[in-house]
């Protein structure tokens, strides 16, 4: 089976899974909104209007206004951009680190493997969220720092996955063949082994983005993530919490957005997992 038909086969299985399709639709929906916010709202997300503080949803402001009279819909849309890109970038960093460490550990084995895997164990011992809180307190909150710190604390799962795959792949005939042809280590790792680990990585990445979005929202909610006035779903929710008794729209919509996005990624991730490896289904 060549790569092309395998992809087609995977997509075919994926499309037969209604939950996965729903998940993909949700993810796609939010991505489109994040990329083209002006399709939906022409309001400036940072435009303060003190005459319209905490207005309930109406024609002019479909999702109401916040505690400074800013349009919640516009803030949600721009917040989607922030939240989703934090998710993507953070997870990319995590995948990058996890991949390299996993490949090295799996391929070289022995001491290198023990050393790297013990390091993974150490990293897993930290309660991640508190580690992030501590580091943010030290380096200061900003979007870039958040992406970075979520990335460098979230790669251990990927590293283990890749290592396990690499361990079995490196014994396979095509690796031996490549080596016999005189391919260097880097070429073997990145041209022969890496492409074959992509399926589990894709699954981990999809689920990981959901996790990263949740962490970002949590940090922003606590006031140490994305700094106001830059909107993110988490910090819109903070304003919602302060006014929860009479401004339900400030809590409901960002909460719903976070919920749906995370659910969407999770469904999609599990769908992909089932699709690439039907044996795992139901486990």
């Amino acid at each position: 089976m060549n790569g092309h038909s395998m992809l087609r086969e995977t997509l075919r299985r994926l499309s037969r899974n209604p939950l996965a399709v729903a998940g993909a639709a949700v993810v796609l929906f939010f991505c489109v909104l994040a990329l083209f916010p002006w399709l939906v709202s022409s309001h400036d997300p940072n435009r303060i209007d003190i005459l319209k503080i905490l207005e309930p949803p109406s024609g002019a402001h479909p999702l109401g206004t916040d505690d400074l009279g800013r349009d919640v819909l516009a803030r949600m849309l721009h917040g989607a951009r922030i939240s989703l890109s934090v998710g993507f970038v953070a997870e990319s960093i995590a995948i990058g680190i996890g991949l390299v460490i996993g490949l090295l550990a799996g391929y070289y084995g022995g001491k290198v493997d023990s050393l790297l895997m013990r390091f993974v164990d150490i990293m897993l011992c930290f309660p991640t969220f508190f580690l992030i809180l501590a580091v943010i307190a030290f380096i200061g909150p900003s979007i870039w720092n958040i992406m970075f710190i979520i990335g460098v604390t979230g790669w251990m799962g990927v590293a283990r996955l890749v290592r396990a795959e690499t361990l079995s792949l490196k014994e396979r005939d095509f690796v031996a063949a490549a080596r016999a042809q005189g391919a260097g280590t880097a070429r073997i790792l990145f041209r022969h082994i890496l492409p074959n680990t992509l399926a589990p990585i894709l699954v981990a990445a999809t689920l990981g983005v959901a996790g990263a979005i949740l962490v970002e929202s949590g940090l922003s909610f606590l006031g140490i993530g994305v700094q106001p006035p830059t909107p993110s779903w988490g910090n819109i929710l903070t304003a919602g919490k302060d006014n929860i008794e009479f401004a339900w729209w400030l809590s409901l919509f960002p909460g719903l957005a976070i919920f749906l996005t995370v659910l969407g990624y999770n469904l999609l991730g599990e769908g992909i997992r089932d699709a690439v490896d039907p044996r795992l289904k139901g486990r």
């Binding site: 003190i50 400074l68 200061g140």
Partner: protein, 562 residues
């Protein structure tokens, strides 16, 4: 109660007893410090009968900040000063009309030349551990205040004293080289127990700073760090045992949570935010359980600059920012109109206040003009002004947990963007903000508040000699004329003379804008209806706390674990 016009950093806390003598930085918009001018709502609807004063019951109050220590000589935040006010007394204090009256001193004589004050101390006062209070304690406190080993921000007043002595156990004499107008008020400093502090060179490290023993209406019972402080009524208090048997201050670092606690009965008293007050208390249920009060608080919120910063060194830039800021929008949007535009560091309606100073109405065009005169020209990316290749960008710091300040910052950001200045906002936890950034002068600009004390002497905030790390002139303001006027203002007892000096200071500050004075917020306390005896006055509501009571039948907390 502490007496003196010293700068206090008002940290964090709406506390009941006024901490009104020291200038404090404050973390909250409007702490429950006494206010003036009392355009107060009448206390509630008057449906409850006054009942008979009775001992017993407890008051539970909320505070967003924890106490850092109980010895007010070595703390500068309002949470600590508020807590200490239950336990300690000064020689004098302010009454409900903000006039000085005797506290531990029964009376005093001032010599005709104004250089000598003789205090006649009360004779029936005992420390909480039973030891008698004498003039030796006062002398000891004085010595600690001028001791270089005492890390205090309030030593300056006491260094003015040439000689202090205690001719007998109930007389204390302070002599000055020159007349010193804030002298009397400075003796509102909490008096420390000599017998417990002797042998502690640095009182901030003594056990008493954590477990205080004082002469005040309440004795210290418990302090659980980050959770609560508990005080019990002191039966032998020299003005009689307070009615309310126990005061519990719970640390709740979030105002929305605090409000939920108030409504669910977990708290009896808190200072409402303007938003809570305007949008969330007009319910039948709330009105049934709580009385609301409103008065101009003794404090102002400001936008301060580090004056050594290359951009803010220039007066025109600061004036431009003052024009760019829309104070009206801030007062409407953040305070919901519950406050007043600030023009200077004194409180409207009090004698030192000068309303005829230069004002800065919102005028972006004028701001741009001034910035252009200072060399800041358009040309940067996204409309940011540029001078000598540098973009006008800076970071504004303020403390977390204060919604009003966060919103003020957002409005400032928009105001400044409109004239081509890019401002980043960073919020920091209170203690880190003060200790790591303000004290170390690591800021471009900040939003903070100062309390306003009844005595107008603000030497410690504005004098050019007061810029050390533990001192209070953190913007680094220096103006020889202001220095001279500050000196002049404290050297005469003549109120007209003082008024002239402070009026001129306000004119200079308004012209120079070392700070953009933003607003005077209203204090908006809500107190549970079962608590009676509250009489709003110019000093606010808390001056007569020991006379507050709950009638027998309405008492909620009847048994305490001791």
């Amino acid at each position: 109660m502490k007496t003196k016009s010293r700068p206090r950093r008002r940290a964090a806390a709406p506390r009941i007893l006024p901490a009104l003598f020291a200038l404090l930085l404050f973390a909250l918009a409007a702490p429950l410090l006494p206010g003036c001018g009392g355009r107060g709502d009448a206390p509630g609807t008057g449906d409850a009968s006054p009942g008979v004063p009775a001992h017993g019951d407890a008051i539970v109050e909320g505070s967003i900040g924890d106490v850092s220590g109980f010895l007010t000589a070595v703390t500068t935040d309002s949470a600590s000063h508020g807590a200490a006010a239950y336990v300690f007394n000064g020689l004098v204090r302010y009454d409900k009309d903000l006039k000085l009256e005797g506290d531990l001193a029964e009376s005093w004589d001032i010599s005709p030349d104004g250089k000598k004050i003789t205090f006649h101390l009360r004779k029936n006062v005992k420390w909480h551990d039973g030891a008698p209070f004498t003039s030796e304690d006062v002398l000891f406190t004085y010595r600690k205040m001028i001791d270089p080993k005492t890390p205090t921000a309030y030593g300056e007043d006491f260094r003015q004293v040439r000689r202090a002595h205690a001719p007998d156990p109930h007389t204390f004499v302070a002599e000055y080289d020159r007349p010193f107008a804030p002298a009397l008020a400075s003796w509102g400093m909490h008096i420390l127990p000599k017998h417990l502090l002797e042998g502690h060179p640095d009182i901030s490290k003594s056990p008493l700073n954590k477990k205080p023993v004082g002469t005040g209406p309440y004795r210290f019972a418990e302090w659980k760090t980050g959770e609560k402080t508990v005080f019990d009524a002191y039966a032998d208090y020299h003005e009689g045992k307070p009615y309310i048997a126990r005061v519990v201050t719970r640390v709740i670092p979030d105002l929305a949570t605090m409000f939920l606690e108030l409504k669910s009965g977990g708290l009896d008293l808190m200072n409402l935010t303007p938003l809570q007050r305007t949008r969330q208390t007009e319910t039948k249920q709330f009105r049934k359980s709580f009385n609301k009060y409103q008065y101009l608080s003794s404090g102002y919120t400001y936008l301060g600059f580090r004056l050594s910063h290359p951009y803010f060194k220039e007066k025109k830039v600061r004036q431009a920012i003052a024009y760019a800021v829309n104070k009206k929008e801030i007062i409407e949007g953040v305070l919901f109109g519950l406050g007043q535009e600030a023009t200077g560091p004194f409180k409207p309606g009090t004698w030192p206040y000068n309303p005829d100073v230069k004002r800065y109405p919102h005028d972006p065009a004028k701001a741009k003009e001034l910035l252009a005169e200072a060399g800041w020209k358009p040309g940067g990316r996204d409309g940011v002004l540029v001078k000598d290749g540098r973009r006008f960008e800076f970071t504004l710091l303020t403390n977390a947990g204060n919604e009003s300040r966060a919103k003020t910052a957002a409005i400032l950001q928009q105001n400044l963007a409109a004239v081509g200045i890019k401002m980043e906002i960073r919020t920091l936890e209170w203690a880190a903000f003060i200790n790591e950034f303000v004290k170390k002068r690591k800021f471009d600009a900040l939003i903070l508040g100062w309390s306003i004390t009844p005595d107008p002497d603000q030497y410690d905030i504005w004098h050019s000699s007061k810029t050390g790390p533990d001192e209070l002139n953190h913007v680094g303001y220096a103006n020889p004329e202001v220095d001279r006027l500050l000196e002049e203002g404290r050297r005469t007892f003549d109120i007209e003379g003082r008024k002239k000096a402070y009026s001129r200071i306000q004119e200079i500050l308004a012209e120079e804008q070392p700070l953009v004075f933003l607003y005077y917020p209203d204090a908006l306390p809500a107190v549970h209806k079962r608590i009676r005896g509250i009489v709003p006055a110019p000093a606010g509501i808390s001056y007569n706390f020991i006379q507050w009571y709950v009638p027998k039948g309405e008492q909620r907390y009847t048994t305490f674990q001791q």
